[in-house]
Symmetry: C3
Subunit: 449 residues, 3 copies
């Protein structure tokens, strides 16, 4: 797809104004956005995605991109667009026993249209329940294999005692578009930070309305500062969305300095970070550093080629420095991909904490620099410059003065402030503050300011 085609498909220009933008001030505001988005039936294509992105535009001027069905994207093709109007299982007397209008998880995503009376045995082959969770509806998809099906609670499943039922899925599976949102916040250098989050799940709160809302909040924050780096936010359907974006934007990949996939950021568990495929990329070190100084509660796990869109960004042909930030890892909490992943699973405090940590991560990304000590032989006389206590003989030194000594000792034109913070086992913010003091007295220079 040419850039022209993309341009024409856009719902709004990149330079859209900010008049009337809603602000996600805190965890509660984010919870309200999540609750508003929750009932919409999203999938990897379709009107639910468009409706979601339109709501997001109330908060940040993201572009809505439309890529036509059939577009060749890497090893894949953009699929047909799927929409559902109604879907149910009814007794022959018309009583609906399972109804998409009640919960949009009830229909297997990408189910083909059906309107038939079927025997109970055939019906059961199209049903999905979770045996040991009597009230939870599972979430299932059949994107690339034409089929139809219903998801229902084990209690509903057990209650199906009629010999025949009517099944109706009034869906369409037609040529259309794959829709995604993109927001570029320009910075002062050529390099870019990528933030990617998947938007393809229907009524599931943690996975991934939490990621969407957190990404949006972070986008608002970046727009409020003048960042050094460009920040590119992608709101895309999982797998096929990142594959599509990668295929259409290969020329932009070389400038990606750091990247994060955001998912499952609202549950009450602690934070997790899945490393990039490289394992030692800058973003891997940055997140580990921030976790360490956030009480050491965050958990860093090595890359595995299963999960969300980091699978695509970290495929061997790209091997981008992209990790994944989560709270409880997908699949590791029982409510995952069931109707129990609803707004009750989330907490405003968790959402706010996720955002706070992301801001700290951005603080390191933005504030890091290679430094050079301009007085590298011996220690410079800090007291003369008002940077050091005048009374000598004490047995210890304050953190702020220790930070000065560390920065001076390690600023050899090769190490970054993050290197120094790691070696000193001090928070990046303390090391950066020391560097700023030293720069103000010309004892230090930033090599790559």
């Amino acid at each position: 797809m040419s850039d022209d085609l993309q341009q024409r498909a856009r719902g709004s220009g990149e330079d859209g104004g900010d008049a009337g933008v809603r602000i996600l001030r805190d965890g509660e505001a984010i919870m309200r956005l999540i609750e508003r988005l929750f009932p919409i039936c999203r999938s990897i294509t379709g009107d639910g995605v468009r409706q979601t992105l339109k709501i997001l535009q109330e908060y940040a001027p993201l572009d809505i991109e439309e890529v036509p069905t059939g577009t060749k994207v890497l090893d894949w093709r953009v699929p047909r667009e799927w929409n559902v109007r109604q879907a149910y299982i009814a007794r022959l007397d018309g009583t609906r026993v399972v109804d998409f209008a009640t919960h949009n998880l009830h229909v297997v995503q990408y189910s083909t249209p059906v309107d038939r009376t079927v025997g109970i045995d055939e019906l059961r082959r199209h049903l999905h329940a979770i045996a040991d969770r009597p009230d939870w509806i599972p979430y299932r998809t059949s994107y690339y294999s034409e089929d139809w099906g219903f998801c229902l609670s084990q209690r509903q499943f057990a209650g199906l005692s009629d010999p025949v039922y009517r099944v109706v899925i009034d869906s369409s599976l037609e040529d259309g578009h794959l829709t995604y949102g993109e927001l570029l916040v320009p910075g002062r250098c050529d390099e870019t930070v990528l933030v990617s989050t998947h938007i393809c799940h229907p009524s599931l709160a943690n996975d991934n309305l939490s990621g969407i809302a957190v990404a949006l909040s972070v986008a608002q924050y970046i727009r409020s500062i003048t960042p050094h780096y460009n920040y590119r936010f992608l709101f895309i359907p999982g797998t096929i969305g990142s594959i599509t974006w990668l295929a259409l934007n290969e020329h932009k990949l070389g400038s990606i300095k750091h990247g994060l996939v955001l998912s499952c950021l609202g549950d009450r568990g602690g934070l997790s970070y899945k490393q990039s495929r490289r394992g030692d990329a800058g973003i891997d070190r940055i997140v580990a550093h921030v976790f360490k100084h956030d009480g050491g509660n965050g958990r860093v796990v090595p890359f595995v080629p299963f999960g969300y869109d980091e699978r695509q960004y970290c495929s061997p042909g790209y091997d981008l420095p992209v990790g994944c930030l989560m709270r409880t890892e997908p699949g590791k909490y029982p409510e995952y991909h069931t109707s129990a992943d609803n707004p009750d699973l989330l907490s405003g405090a968790s959402l706010a904490h996720s955002i706070a940590i992301l801001r700290q991560i951005i603080g390191v990304i933005e504030g890091n620099a290679i430094t050079r000590n301009n007085s590298p032989k011996g220690e410079p006389q800090l007291g003369r410059r008002g940077l050091y206590r005048v009374l000598g003989g004490q047995s210890s030194v304050e953190d702020a003065q220790m930070a000065l000594l560390w920065v001076l000792n390690l600023s050899d034109g090769r190490r970054s402030l993050l290197d120094i913070a790691e070696r000193a086992e001090m928070p990046f913010t303390a090391i950066r503050a020391a560097a700023d003091s030293l720069c103000a007295t010309d004892l230090l220079s930033l090599v790559n300011p």
Copy 2:
């Protein structure tokens, strides 16, 4: 020694036919071979070695090589050949109190001929017993210092109360040959796997009839397949045998890709592997991988320059990638180098397990390859090729599908399947099976097939 000389000294040609070959089908068959070889008095030279190798020829067509006494081999010379007809300590009335005919450990190996009446004090200086093991006869040698001596149990030693005894050792120490066996199973490439085992010990079962029998069984297995690599099996006297082989075969060393010394493989302890001097040779990683997926019971120990023929293969002038596979390490079990190292110490199950692990090791050696993902940008669409489940949304993935994802993600033309298995923490066999599936759909190529 020239190749011609070696050729003339051979007992059989390398192309000897297989008619009537005996097969070592299981641990019990191996135990029977060990029991048959047990009574023979082997040493680093002599007829016991020849007799042993002739019996091995019933199982595999190994060449018997003869290297003349005095041949200069590295820093050493091939010693004179030693044979014993009879040896005993007798009372003056003729009663034999220690007799080589009873157990061939009774005479110190390489004892010079003697036929004298000696006082008890002088005799004791030629006797070796183990104070805290009343019934065990130790095994002692004096290859390179002319002397004579007897080994006996502490009980026998304590019973020597006469003032004088007659000692007879009817041995010969004469110019002859050093004898060893060699079997080359040709493969399809230029590189060779070396399997070496020592044959110089008399009636000791674990050390090293177990190693001999296991090597022979593995040789039969290799002959039953069409291996990628050449496999060279050496049945040699310890130290002087490997020194002799190395001296006469330096032109063959460059092609050695992997090597294993086999010793003490029949006792009831768990497996041990002593790394090559390099510590990170391919064989070191392969054995560690196989051990890990064998329940993690095998023990990997670092190289030390004490032990068996790996000392010679790993001397700094060669530094070959040769490790040593054992069960309980030599010297670490009390029966080591005593008459208690007899067939009762062994178990058929241990022997069979040793062979099974060796076959797994050979499986990795033979099956390893560098791979390249032919669709490295994003994940290829596996579902379309029948390689991936069609129903999405589950919280976990099966091992077989995970193996596919790992192989695709890490096949960048630099990593081997073993690298991938290690990173994925999955068995090599699972990773190799995934690679085979992907090769069948042209998604993967072997870079060095």
Copy 3:
């Protein structure tokens, strides 16, 4: 400052004779030297330093260097010289309640002259005590900020109840010199080992009369051997002394192979070693090795840019291979920088142990060499050369023979004897002894003898 100026300022020539030198034979002799030096009021300049260095000259022919006030040294200038004749706080009736004549810690170092009657409130702003140590006088300095002050015990502080007191500090702060001692013991090669210790503290025993006395004892030892390396001993005021020496001796830095700062070596705690900034310098490995074989009690801590003169030697413009040897680290024992750091805190046994370990460190420095096995293919026949037991078959090997095998196996012309000792987990002395035996039979050569 030119070399000429330095030459003229010297108190004695480098070639001073040894007639009548006192010897520090044991811990008790060292304790007596410490007790003799204890009462002197040293500072970073002044007559107390000169008096101390003169006493040290009774033990070793060190040069006394004088560097004029105002000399530009790196980012600093040599300060004015400070001397005190008397100092006290008295009641108006003349009774002295705090008196420098009682303890020289009572006056803040570099206090400006004062002779006034001051109200109690103003006085208290010039007083320093330790609230939770009623009887200890702290040690405080104000080298680079003109001020005056007294240190006193909390009990004395609490007893000050008069409304006004007379304060007298009869000090001078005038142009003069910074004084330090230097001793070069010449070796047989171009490279140098630096041993540096600070001499600027008044009546404090562990910090650093212990370091001074231990350095002096080691200097006597080095003078008693014919060392391979040059050894340069510096007895200098902390911080400004090393900055001055570095500034005036930059042309000598390139030849520094190893360096140690010595401080706090007499207390009853175990040894500590603070690594050089590099962390993997030769001296770092050597001290770790010696600690390991000293029962493993010594503690190795990573470099931090706070402490003694290693801060200057390890500043990024120099990054010299200099670590710091201590017993309990400065600041980590409660008596540090108080009047409780007196000779009672020390033990002769600790001082003797510190010296013994330093001699072992010097043993490795002096004895290390890269080695090459001259018979690297297979093991050479050690028995023939009288280096190996003649009776074979035992299950283990003696340490001395194991050391021979390790040296032979690892002497590939790239590894040092220290590398071998580390790999073999044997003491350096055992490995060096084995190497000497092998050299005597021409099986081994030293590559850098």
